[in-house]
Protein backbone atom coordinates (compact mmCIF):
# COMPACT_ATOMS: atom_id res chain seq x y z
CA UNK A 1 0.00 0.00 0.00
CA UNK A 2 1.38 3.43 -0.84
CA UNK A 3 1.81 5.49 2.24
CA UNK A 4 2.40 8.69 0.33
CA UNK A 5 1.20 9.49 -3.15
CA UNK A 6 1.72 12.60 -5.19
CA UNK A 7 -0.50 12.64 -8.24
CA UNK A 8 0.46 15.23 -10.81
CA UNK A 9 1.19 17.61 -7.95
CA UNK A 10 2.56 21.00 -8.81
CA UNK A 11 2.81 24.61 -7.73
CA UNK A 12 3.20 27.92 -9.47
CA UNK A 13 4.67 31.06 -7.95
CA UNK A 14 3.41 33.75 -10.26
CA UNK A 15 4.94 32.86 -13.59
CA UNK A 16 7.36 30.31 -12.20
CA UNK A 17 6.36 26.67 -12.11
CA UNK A 18 8.46 25.46 -9.20
CA UNK A 19 7.12 21.93 -9.31
CA UNK A 20 5.27 20.51 -12.31
CA UNK A 21 3.03 17.42 -12.56
CA UNK A 22 4.99 15.34 -10.12
CA UNK A 23 4.08 11.70 -9.65
CA UNK A 24 5.64 10.08 -6.62
CA UNK A 25 4.65 6.97 -4.74
CA UNK A 26 6.14 5.77 -1.49
CA UNK A 27 5.61 2.25 -0.20
CA UNK A 28 5.25 1.79 3.51
CA UNK A 29 8.56 1.11 5.20
CA UNK A 30 10.66 2.19 2.24
CA UNK A 31 13.70 4.46 2.16
CA UNK A 32 13.35 6.77 -0.80
CA UNK A 33 15.72 9.44 -2.04
CA UNK A 34 14.91 12.71 -3.77
CA UNK A 35 17.81 14.28 -5.63
CA UNK A 36 18.45 16.87 -8.28
CA UNK A 37 20.58 19.91 -9.01
CA UNK A 38 20.20 23.04 -6.89
CA UNK A 39 16.92 24.79 -7.48
CA UNK A 40 15.26 21.65 -8.81
CA UNK A 41 12.39 22.05 -6.39
CA UNK A 42 13.20 19.37 -3.84
CA UNK A 43 12.53 21.39 -0.70
CA UNK A 44 9.46 22.79 -2.43
CA UNK A 45 8.17 19.24 -2.70
CA UNK A 46 8.71 18.80 1.03
CA UNK A 47 6.90 22.05 1.69
CA UNK A 48 4.02 20.88 -0.48
CA UNK A 49 3.76 17.61 1.41
CA UNK A 50 3.91 19.25 4.83
CA UNK A 51 1.33 21.89 3.99
CA UNK A 52 3.56 24.95 4.05
CA UNK A 53 2.65 25.48 0.41
CA UNK A 54 -0.65 24.50 -1.14
CA UNK A 55 -0.33 22.82 -4.53
CA UNK A 56 -1.94 24.72 -7.37
CA UNK A 57 -2.49 21.50 -9.26
CA UNK A 58 -2.76 17.79 -8.57
CA UNK A 59 -3.29 15.85 -5.37
CA UNK A 60 -1.24 14.60 -2.45
CA UNK A 61 -2.53 11.60 -0.56
CA UNK A 62 -1.23 10.28 2.74
CA UNK A 63 -2.46 6.94 4.10
CA UNK A 64 -5.23 7.04 1.55
CA UNK A 65 -6.51 10.53 2.44
CA UNK A 66 -5.91 13.76 0.58
CA UNK A 67 -3.89 16.22 2.63
CA UNK A 68 -4.04 19.12 0.20
CA UNK A 69 -5.05 22.34 1.93
CA UNK A 70 -4.31 21.08 5.42
CA UNK A 71 -2.21 23.33 7.61
CA UNK A 72 1.31 22.24 8.57
CA UNK A 73 0.08 21.55 12.07
CA UNK A 74 -2.65 19.20 10.86
CA UNK A 75 -0.34 17.45 8.44
CA UNK A 76 2.20 16.87 11.18
CA UNK A 77 -0.53 15.64 13.49
CA UNK A 78 -1.59 13.17 10.80
CA UNK A 79 1.78 11.46 11.09
CA UNK A 80 4.36 13.24 8.95
CA UNK A 81 7.53 14.43 10.65
CA UNK A 82 10.36 16.41 9.14
CA UNK A 83 13.74 17.93 9.62
CA UNK A 84 14.89 21.10 7.90
CA UNK A 85 17.67 22.19 5.63
CA UNK A 86 18.82 24.80 8.16
CA UNK A 87 18.55 22.80 11.37
CA UNK A 88 15.66 24.22 13.38
CA UNK A 89 16.25 23.55 17.03
CA UNK A 90 14.82 25.50 19.94
CA UNK A 91 17.91 27.47 20.84
CA UNK A 92 16.66 28.70 24.22
CA UNK A 93 15.77 25.22 25.47
CA UNK A 94 17.91 22.35 26.67
CA UNK A 95 18.45 19.23 24.59
CA UNK A 96 16.01 17.34 26.79
CA UNK A 97 13.38 20.04 26.57
CA UNK A 98 13.68 20.15 22.79
CA UNK A 99 12.52 16.55 22.76
CA UNK A 100 9.94 17.04 25.49
CA UNK A 101 8.18 19.69 23.41
CA UNK A 102 7.53 17.02 20.79
CA UNK A 103 5.48 15.04 23.29
CA UNK A 104 3.09 17.93 23.85
CA UNK A 105 0.24 16.44 21.85
CA UNK A 106 0.35 13.32 24.00
CA UNK A 107 -0.33 15.20 27.24
CA UNK A 108 -3.64 14.89 29.07
CA UNK A 109 -3.57 17.60 31.73
CA UNK A 110 -5.14 21.00 31.21
CA UNK A 111 -3.38 24.33 31.67
CA UNK A 112 -4.88 24.88 35.10
CA UNK A 113 -3.83 21.46 36.24
CA UNK A 114 -0.35 22.32 35.06
CA UNK A 115 -0.23 25.59 36.96
CA UNK A 116 -1.56 24.02 40.14
CA UNK A 117 0.74 21.03 39.70
CA UNK A 118 -2.19 18.65 40.00
CA UNK A 119 -1.56 14.88 40.12
CA UNK A 120 -2.62 14.35 36.51
CA UNK A 121 -0.12 16.94 35.36
CA UNK A 122 2.66 15.45 37.46
CA UNK A 123 1.92 12.00 36.03
CA UNK A 124 2.09 13.46 32.52
CA UNK A 125 5.44 15.07 33.25
CA UNK A 126 6.92 11.92 34.73
CA UNK A 127 5.89 9.96 31.66
CA UNK A 128 7.20 12.58 29.24
CA UNK A 129 10.45 12.82 31.15
CA UNK A 130 10.95 9.06 31.05
CA UNK A 131 10.11 8.74 27.36
CA UNK A 132 12.21 11.75 26.35
CA UNK A 133 15.21 10.48 28.27
CA UNK A 134 14.78 7.02 26.77
CA UNK A 135 14.74 8.54 23.30
CA UNK A 136 17.88 10.55 24.01
CA UNK A 137 19.49 7.38 25.32
CA UNK A 138 18.83 5.47 22.11
CA UNK A 139 20.29 8.35 20.13
CA UNK A 140 23.34 8.58 22.35
CA UNK A 141 22.52 12.07 23.55
CA UNK A 142 21.86 11.32 27.24
CA UNK A 143 25.06 12.91 28.44
CA UNK A 144 24.01 16.20 26.90
CA UNK A 145 20.44 16.22 28.14
CA UNK A 146 20.80 19.40 30.17
CA UNK A 147 23.01 21.25 27.75
CA UNK A 148 21.53 24.21 25.90
CA UNK A 149 20.61 23.04 22.40
CA UNK A 150 22.66 25.91 21.08
CA UNK A 151 25.79 24.43 22.60
CA UNK A 152 25.63 21.09 20.85
CA UNK A 153 28.32 20.37 18.28
CA UNK A 154 27.05 20.44 14.72
CA UNK A 155 26.85 16.71 14.03
CA UNK A 156 24.83 16.10 17.18
CA UNK A 157 22.40 18.93 16.38
CA UNK A 158 21.26 17.03 13.33
CA UNK A 159 20.84 13.94 15.45
CA UNK A 160 18.77 15.83 17.99
CA UNK A 161 16.54 17.20 15.28
CA UNK A 162 15.87 13.69 14.01
CA UNK A 163 15.25 12.39 17.53
CA UNK A 164 12.81 15.19 18.18
CA UNK A 165 10.90 14.48 14.97
CA UNK A 166 10.62 10.82 15.93
CA UNK A 167 9.14 11.66 19.33
CA UNK A 168 5.85 12.38 17.61
CA UNK A 169 5.83 8.78 16.29
CA UNK A 170 5.37 9.72 12.67
CA UNK A 171 4.56 7.19 9.98
CA UNK A 172 6.55 9.18 7.42
CA UNK A 173 9.76 11.05 8.09
CA UNK A 174 11.04 13.70 5.69
CA UNK A 175 14.74 14.47 6.01
CA UNK A 176 15.95 17.61 4.25
CA UNK A 177 19.66 17.38 3.47
CA UNK A 178 20.61 15.66 6.73
CA UNK A 179 24.21 15.24 5.61
CA UNK A 180 24.77 18.90 4.83
CA UNK A 181 28.10 20.11 6.12
CA UNK A 182 29.29 16.67 7.15
CA UNK A 183 32.69 15.13 6.39
CA UNK A 184 32.90 11.56 5.03
CA UNK A 185 33.13 9.92 8.43
CA UNK A 186 30.16 11.87 9.84
CA UNK A 187 28.18 11.10 6.70
CA UNK A 188 28.96 7.44 7.21
CA UNK A 189 27.62 7.59 10.78
CA UNK A 190 24.53 9.31 9.46
CA UNK A 191 23.91 6.55 6.97
CA UNK A 192 23.98 3.99 9.75
CA UNK A 193 21.74 6.21 11.85
CA UNK A 194 19.12 6.58 9.14
CA UNK A 195 19.07 2.84 8.42
CA UNK A 196 18.83 2.15 12.14
CA UNK A 197 15.98 4.65 12.53
CA UNK A 198 14.05 2.92 9.80
CA UNK A 199 14.53 -0.52 11.43
CA UNK A 200 13.91 0.60 15.01
CA UNK A 201 10.96 2.92 14.50
CA UNK A 202 9.40 1.22 11.48
CA UNK A 203 9.07 4.59 9.78
CA UNK A 204 8.97 5.33 6.06
CA UNK A 205 11.70 7.76 5.06
CA UNK A 206 11.91 10.27 2.22
CA UNK A 207 15.29 11.89 1.97
CA UNK A 208 16.58 14.96 0.10
CA UNK A 209 20.30 14.84 -0.27
CA UNK A 210 23.20 16.15 -2.33
CA UNK A 211 25.71 13.84 -0.71
CA UNK A 212 25.76 11.10 -3.36
CA UNK A 213 27.52 8.53 -1.21
CA UNK A 214 24.71 8.75 1.32
CA UNK A 215 21.94 8.58 -1.25
CA UNK A 216 23.42 5.74 -3.22
CA UNK A 217 24.38 3.96 -0.05
CA UNK A 218 21.06 3.71 1.72
CA UNK A 219 18.17 4.53 -0.60
CA UNK A 220 16.16 1.71 -2.09
CA UNK A 221 14.65 3.92 -4.76
CA UNK A 222 15.58 7.39 -5.98
CA UNK A 223 13.53 10.05 -7.75
CA UNK A 224 15.45 12.70 -9.68
CA UNK A 225 14.06 16.21 -10.16
CA UNK A 226 15.20 18.95 -12.47
CA UNK A 227 13.48 22.31 -12.92
CA UNK A 228 10.51 21.07 -10.95
CA UNK A 229 9.82 17.95 -13.02
CA UNK A 230 10.71 14.31 -12.56
CA UNK A 231 13.36 13.25 -15.02
CA UNK A 232 14.15 9.79 -13.72
CA UNK A 233 13.23 7.26 -11.09
CA UNK A 234 14.70 3.91 -10.16
CA UNK A 235 17.19 1.99 -8.07
CA UNK A 236 20.56 3.57 -7.26
CA UNK A 237 22.24 1.41 -9.92
CA UNK A 238 19.81 2.54 -12.59
CA UNK A 239 20.09 6.21 -11.62
CA UNK A 240 23.86 6.15 -11.52
CA UNK A 241 24.02 5.10 -15.14
CA UNK A 242 21.10 7.16 -16.46
CA UNK A 243 22.40 9.63 -19.09
CA UNK A 244 19.52 12.07 -18.49
CA UNK A 245 20.48 12.33 -14.84
CA UNK A 246 24.15 12.78 -15.58
CA UNK A 247 23.33 15.51 -18.07
CA UNK A 248 21.18 17.34 -15.51
CA UNK A 249 24.14 17.45 -13.19
CA UNK A 250 26.39 18.73 -15.97
CA UNK A 251 29.12 20.83 -14.52
CA UNK A 252 28.93 19.11 -11.17
CA UNK A 253 30.60 15.78 -10.56
CA UNK A 254 27.76 13.34 -9.82
CA UNK A 255 30.04 11.37 -7.57
CA UNK A 256 31.29 14.35 -5.62
CA UNK A 257 31.21 14.06 -1.87
CA UNK A 258 30.77 17.69 -1.02
CA UNK A 259 27.19 18.67 -0.28
Amino acid sequence: MSLLQLQKAGIRFGGLRAVAELDLSLEEGSLHGLIGPNGAGKTTVFNLITGIYTPTEGDIRFAGQSIVGKSPTRVAAAGIGRTFQNIRLFAGLSVLDNVKVAFDRQLHATLFEAVLRAPRYLADERRVDAEARALLETFGLSAMADLGADNLPYGLRRRLEIARALATRPKLLLLDEPAAGMNPSEADDLMHLIRWVRETFGVTILLIEHHMAVVMGICERITVLDHGARIAEGTPQEIRKDPVVIEAYLGADAHAETA
Partner: protein, 314 residues
Protein backbone atom coordinates in the same frame (compact mmCIF):
# COMPACT_ATOMS: atom_id res chain seq x y z
CA UNK B 1 1.35 15.16 46.27
CA UNK B 2 5.07 15.33 45.84
CA UNK B 3 7.27 17.11 48.30
CA UNK B 4 8.24 19.79 45.81
CA UNK B 5 4.64 20.76 45.15
CA UNK B 6 3.81 20.82 48.87
CA UNK B 7 6.82 23.02 49.50
CA UNK B 8 5.63 25.35 46.76
CA UNK B 9 2.22 25.73 48.33
CA UNK B 10 3.79 26.29 51.72
CA UNK B 11 5.98 29.07 50.40
CA UNK B 12 2.96 30.69 48.79
CA UNK B 13 0.96 30.52 52.00
CA UNK B 14 3.84 31.92 54.01
CA UNK B 15 4.34 34.83 51.63
CA UNK B 16 0.63 35.54 51.64
CA UNK B 17 0.60 35.61 55.41
CA UNK B 18 3.62 37.90 55.36
CA UNK B 19 1.87 40.29 52.99
CA UNK B 20 -1.14 40.62 55.23
CA UNK B 21 1.09 40.80 58.25
CA UNK B 22 2.77 43.81 56.72
CA UNK B 23 -0.59 45.30 55.80
CA UNK B 24 -1.95 45.05 59.33
CA UNK B 25 1.13 45.69 61.42
CA UNK B 26 3.58 47.71 59.33
CA UNK B 27 1.59 49.86 56.93
CA UNK B 28 -0.24 52.00 59.52
CA UNK B 29 3.13 53.04 60.94
CA UNK B 30 4.81 53.72 57.62
CA UNK B 31 5.16 56.97 55.77
CA UNK B 32 2.27 56.94 53.25
CA UNK B 33 4.62 58.28 50.60
CA UNK B 34 6.67 55.12 50.84
CA UNK B 35 3.62 52.89 50.88
CA UNK B 36 2.38 54.66 47.79
CA UNK B 37 5.57 53.90 45.88
CA UNK B 38 5.49 50.27 46.92
CA UNK B 39 1.87 49.85 45.91
CA UNK B 40 2.54 51.45 42.55
CA UNK B 41 5.44 49.06 42.09
CA UNK B 42 2.87 46.33 42.67
CA UNK B 43 0.74 47.66 39.80
CA UNK B 44 3.77 47.65 37.53
CA UNK B 45 4.67 44.10 38.57
CA UNK B 46 1.26 42.83 37.54
CA UNK B 47 1.38 44.59 34.19
CA UNK B 48 4.95 43.51 33.51
CA UNK B 49 4.52 39.83 34.30
CA UNK B 50 1.81 39.52 31.69
CA UNK B 51 3.89 41.24 29.04
CA UNK B 52 6.96 39.20 29.95
CA UNK B 53 4.92 36.10 29.17
CA UNK B 54 3.66 37.43 25.86
CA UNK B 55 6.72 39.30 24.63
CA UNK B 56 9.63 37.73 26.40
CA UNK B 57 8.62 34.10 26.50
CA UNK B 58 6.32 33.67 23.55
CA UNK B 59 7.99 36.26 21.35
CA UNK B 60 4.89 38.24 20.37
CA UNK B 61 5.32 41.95 19.63
CA UNK B 62 2.48 43.26 21.80
CA UNK B 63 2.66 47.04 22.03
CA UNK B 64 -0.73 47.90 23.47
CA UNK B 65 -0.60 46.35 26.92
CA UNK B 66 -1.98 49.50 28.56
CA UNK B 67 -5.11 48.99 26.49
CA UNK B 68 -5.85 45.81 28.42
CA UNK B 69 -5.17 47.65 31.67
CA UNK B 70 -7.76 50.19 30.57
CA UNK B 71 -10.32 47.47 29.94
CA UNK B 72 -9.72 46.05 33.40
CA UNK B 73 -9.75 49.47 35.03
CA UNK B 74 -12.90 50.76 33.44
CA UNK B 75 -14.63 47.41 33.54
CA UNK B 76 -14.09 46.96 37.24
CA UNK B 77 -14.81 50.60 37.99
CA UNK B 78 -18.11 50.46 36.14
CA UNK B 79 -19.08 47.36 38.10
CA UNK B 80 -18.26 49.02 41.41
CA UNK B 81 -19.89 52.33 40.61
CA UNK B 82 -22.98 51.18 38.75
CA UNK B 83 -23.57 47.67 40.02
CA UNK B 84 -22.34 48.16 43.56
CA UNK B 85 -20.17 45.07 43.43
CA UNK B 86 -17.46 44.47 45.99
CA UNK B 87 -14.34 46.12 44.54
CA UNK B 88 -12.15 43.03 44.57
CA UNK B 89 -14.83 41.05 42.81
CA UNK B 90 -14.95 43.86 40.32
CA UNK B 91 -11.19 43.63 39.89
CA UNK B 92 -11.46 39.92 39.14
CA UNK B 93 -14.25 40.45 36.64
CA UNK B 94 -12.30 43.31 35.13
CA UNK B 95 -9.47 40.86 34.61
CA UNK B 96 -11.79 38.52 32.77
CA UNK B 97 -13.05 41.39 30.65
CA UNK B 98 -9.47 42.18 29.72
CA UNK B 99 -8.90 38.50 28.94
CA UNK B 100 -11.87 38.56 26.60
CA UNK B 101 -10.46 41.65 24.93
CA UNK B 102 -7.20 39.77 24.62
CA UNK B 103 -8.95 36.95 22.81
CA UNK B 104 -10.80 39.38 20.56
CA UNK B 105 -7.57 41.11 19.58
CA UNK B 106 -5.39 38.01 19.54
CA UNK B 107 -7.45 35.53 17.58
CA UNK B 108 -7.44 37.44 14.31
CA UNK B 109 -4.04 39.06 14.71
CA UNK B 110 -1.73 36.35 15.95
CA UNK B 111 -1.63 34.82 12.51
CA UNK B 112 0.10 37.99 11.34
CA UNK B 113 3.83 38.44 11.39
CA UNK B 114 5.55 40.28 14.22
CA UNK B 115 5.60 43.77 12.79
CA UNK B 116 1.93 43.73 11.87
CA UNK B 117 0.96 42.45 15.29
CA UNK B 118 2.85 45.38 16.79
CA UNK B 119 0.79 47.84 14.81
CA UNK B 120 -2.52 46.09 15.50
CA UNK B 121 -1.91 46.04 19.24
CA UNK B 122 -0.89 49.67 19.09
CA UNK B 123 -4.07 50.39 17.22
CA UNK B 124 -6.11 48.52 19.79
CA UNK B 125 -4.59 50.72 22.50
CA UNK B 126 -5.62 53.84 20.58
CA UNK B 127 -9.11 52.59 19.82
CA UNK B 128 -9.85 51.72 23.44
CA UNK B 129 -8.81 55.19 24.54
CA UNK B 130 -10.94 56.84 21.88
CA UNK B 131 -13.90 54.66 22.82
CA UNK B 132 -13.56 55.55 26.49
CA UNK B 133 -13.17 59.23 25.73
CA UNK B 134 -16.41 59.12 23.80
CA UNK B 135 -18.46 57.24 26.37
CA UNK B 136 -20.14 59.61 28.85
CA UNK B 137 -21.04 56.83 31.29
CA UNK B 138 -17.34 56.14 31.63
CA UNK B 139 -16.63 59.78 32.29
CA UNK B 140 -15.11 60.51 28.93
CA UNK B 141 -11.88 62.43 28.79
CA UNK B 142 -12.64 64.05 32.14
CA UNK B 143 -12.34 60.73 33.86
CA UNK B 144 -14.52 58.46 35.92
CA UNK B 145 -14.92 59.48 39.55
CA UNK B 146 -16.57 58.14 42.64
CA UNK B 147 -14.91 54.76 42.52
CA UNK B 148 -14.80 53.13 45.97
CA UNK B 149 -11.26 53.04 47.31
CA UNK B 150 -10.25 49.51 48.19
CA UNK B 151 -6.74 48.95 46.91
CA UNK B 152 -4.16 48.71 49.63
CA UNK B 153 -0.83 47.02 50.12
CA UNK B 154 -2.45 43.77 51.22
CA UNK B 155 -4.74 43.35 48.23
CA UNK B 156 -2.21 44.56 45.72
CA UNK B 157 0.43 42.11 46.78
CA UNK B 158 -2.06 39.29 47.19
CA UNK B 159 -2.76 39.66 43.51
CA UNK B 160 0.95 40.06 42.77
CA UNK B 161 1.68 36.78 44.54
CA UNK B 162 -1.15 35.01 42.73
CA UNK B 163 0.09 36.32 39.42
CA UNK B 164 3.72 35.56 40.07
CA UNK B 165 3.04 31.98 41.13
CA UNK B 166 0.63 31.42 38.29
CA UNK B 167 2.97 32.68 35.63
CA UNK B 168 6.08 31.12 37.10
CA UNK B 169 4.41 27.72 37.31
CA UNK B 170 3.09 28.16 33.82
CA UNK B 171 6.50 29.03 32.41
CA UNK B 172 8.17 26.07 34.06
CA UNK B 173 5.54 23.64 32.84
CA UNK B 174 5.05 21.80 29.58
CA UNK B 175 3.07 24.77 28.31
CA UNK B 176 6.01 27.04 29.08
CA UNK B 177 8.22 24.83 26.95
CA UNK B 178 5.81 25.20 24.09
CA UNK B 179 5.78 29.00 24.46
CA UNK B 180 9.56 29.07 24.29
CA UNK B 181 9.48 26.74 21.30
CA UNK B 182 7.05 29.04 19.51
CA UNK B 183 9.33 31.96 20.22
CA UNK B 184 12.50 30.21 19.15
CA UNK B 185 11.21 28.54 16.00
CA UNK B 186 7.55 28.61 15.19
CA UNK B 187 7.91 26.62 11.97
CA UNK B 188 9.66 23.77 13.75
CA UNK B 189 7.02 23.81 16.48
CA UNK B 190 4.28 23.45 13.91
CA UNK B 191 6.13 20.58 12.28
CA UNK B 192 5.66 18.72 15.56
CA UNK B 193 1.90 18.93 15.19
CA UNK B 194 1.46 21.69 17.78
CA UNK B 195 -1.13 24.41 17.15
CA UNK B 196 1.09 27.44 17.55
CA UNK B 197 -1.65 30.00 16.97
CA UNK B 198 -3.61 28.53 19.83
CA UNK B 199 -0.54 28.65 22.07
CA UNK B 200 0.06 32.30 21.18
CA UNK B 201 -3.54 33.22 21.85
CA UNK B 202 -3.44 31.48 25.22
CA UNK B 203 -0.34 33.44 26.22
CA UNK B 204 -1.90 36.63 24.95
CA UNK B 205 -5.13 36.11 26.87
CA UNK B 206 -3.30 35.32 30.10
CA UNK B 207 -1.11 38.40 29.67
CA UNK B 208 -4.19 40.50 29.09
CA UNK B 209 -5.88 39.07 32.18
CA UNK B 210 -3.09 40.16 34.51
CA UNK B 211 -2.92 43.56 32.86
CA UNK B 212 -6.63 43.84 33.52
CA UNK B 213 -6.10 43.00 37.19
CA UNK B 214 -3.48 45.73 37.40
CA UNK B 215 -5.94 48.14 35.82
CA UNK B 216 -8.68 47.15 38.24
CA UNK B 217 -6.44 47.75 41.22
CA UNK B 218 -5.38 51.12 39.84
CA UNK B 219 -9.02 52.07 39.43
CA UNK B 220 -9.79 51.40 43.08
CA UNK B 221 -6.74 53.17 44.40
CA UNK B 222 -7.56 56.87 44.15
CA UNK B 223 -11.29 56.87 43.43
CA UNK B 224 -10.88 58.19 39.90
CA UNK B 225 -9.29 57.15 36.61
CA UNK B 226 -8.57 58.94 33.36
CA UNK B 227 -8.07 57.60 29.85
CA UNK B 228 -4.76 59.43 29.72
CA UNK B 229 -3.37 56.97 32.28
CA UNK B 230 -3.59 54.13 29.79
CA UNK B 231 -2.19 55.58 26.63
CA UNK B 232 0.63 54.42 24.43
CA UNK B 233 3.13 56.02 26.84
CA UNK B 234 2.16 53.54 29.49
CA UNK B 235 2.46 50.62 27.08
CA UNK B 236 5.97 51.75 26.25
CA UNK B 237 6.93 52.03 29.91
CA UNK B 238 5.88 48.44 30.52
CA UNK B 239 7.59 47.36 27.34
CA UNK B 240 10.76 49.05 28.51
CA UNK B 241 10.64 47.16 31.79
CA UNK B 242 10.37 43.83 30.00
CA UNK B 243 13.04 44.61 27.44
CA UNK B 244 15.49 46.06 29.94
CA UNK B 245 14.88 43.34 32.48
CA UNK B 246 15.45 40.57 30.00
CA UNK B 247 13.34 38.95 27.32
CA UNK B 248 13.26 35.33 28.35
CA UNK B 249 13.35 36.04 32.06
CA UNK B 250 10.58 36.56 34.59
CA UNK B 251 12.51 37.96 37.52
CA UNK B 252 14.45 40.35 35.28
CA UNK B 253 11.42 42.35 34.15
CA UNK B 254 10.00 42.26 37.67
CA UNK B 255 13.21 43.71 38.97
CA UNK B 256 13.22 46.31 36.24
CA UNK B 257 9.62 47.16 37.09
CA UNK B 258 10.57 47.81 40.67
CA UNK B 259 13.55 49.92 39.77
CA UNK B 260 11.91 51.93 37.03
CA UNK B 261 8.83 52.67 39.11
CA UNK B 262 10.80 53.77 42.11
CA UNK B 263 13.44 55.63 40.14
CA UNK B 264 11.33 58.63 39.14
CA UNK B 265 10.62 59.24 42.79
CA UNK B 266 14.30 59.21 43.64
CA UNK B 267 15.07 61.35 40.63
CA UNK B 268 12.40 63.95 41.37
CA UNK B 269 14.67 66.82 40.33
CA UNK B 270 15.09 65.35 36.86
CA UNK B 271 11.45 64.26 36.52
CA UNK B 272 11.18 66.24 33.32
CA UNK B 273 13.83 64.11 31.71
CA UNK B 274 12.24 60.82 32.68
CA UNK B 275 11.09 59.86 29.22
CA UNK B 276 14.37 61.00 27.70
CA UNK B 277 16.23 58.76 30.09
CA UNK B 278 13.91 55.84 29.31
CA UNK B 279 14.47 56.18 25.61
CA UNK B 280 18.23 56.45 25.96
CA UNK B 281 18.20 53.39 28.19
CA UNK B 282 16.18 51.47 25.61
CA UNK B 283 18.39 52.40 22.71
CA UNK B 284 21.56 51.86 24.68
CA UNK B 285 20.45 48.48 25.96
CA UNK B 286 19.54 47.30 22.49
CA UNK B 287 22.97 48.17 21.19
CA UNK B 288 24.99 46.96 24.13
CA UNK B 289 23.00 44.08 25.61
CA UNK B 290 20.12 43.16 23.30
CA UNK B 291 18.71 40.46 25.53
CA UNK B 292 18.27 42.77 28.47
CA UNK B 293 19.93 42.74 31.84
CA UNK B 294 19.19 39.17 32.81
CA UNK B 295 18.71 37.81 29.29
CA UNK B 296 17.37 34.29 29.54
CA UNK B 297 18.28 33.82 33.16
CA UNK B 298 16.55 34.42 36.45
CA UNK B 299 17.66 36.13 39.63
CA UNK B 300 17.82 32.77 41.33
CA UNK B 301 20.51 31.70 38.88
CA UNK B 302 22.91 34.12 40.51
CA UNK B 303 22.47 32.33 43.80
CA UNK B 304 22.68 28.82 42.50
CA UNK B 305 25.40 29.68 39.99
CA UNK B 306 23.59 27.65 37.35
CA UNK B 307 24.13 28.31 33.64
CA UNK B 308 21.08 30.17 32.32
CA UNK B 309 21.04 28.02 29.15
CA UNK B 310 19.84 25.03 31.11
CA UNK B 311 16.14 24.94 31.69
CA UNK B 312 14.65 22.34 33.98
CA UNK B 313 10.96 21.56 33.79
CA UNK B 314 9.38 21.31 37.20
Amino acid sequence: MSRGVLAGWAVFAALLAAVWGVEVFAVPWTDPYLTDIVIRIGFSLLAVMGLALVLGFTGQFSLGHAGFMAVGAYGSAALSVYAGLHPMLGVLLGGFAAALAGAAVGLPSLRLSGDYLAVVTLGFNQIIIVLIQNTPTLGGAQGLTGIPVATNFGWTFTWVLLGAFFIRNLLQSARGRVFAAVRDNEIATRSLGIDTTRAKVVAFVIGAFWAGIAGGLIAHYRSSIFPSQFQFDRSIEILAMVVLGGTGSLSGPLLAAGVLTALPELLRPVAEYRMVIYSLLLIGMMIVRPKGLLGNGELTDLFRRRRPAKKEAA
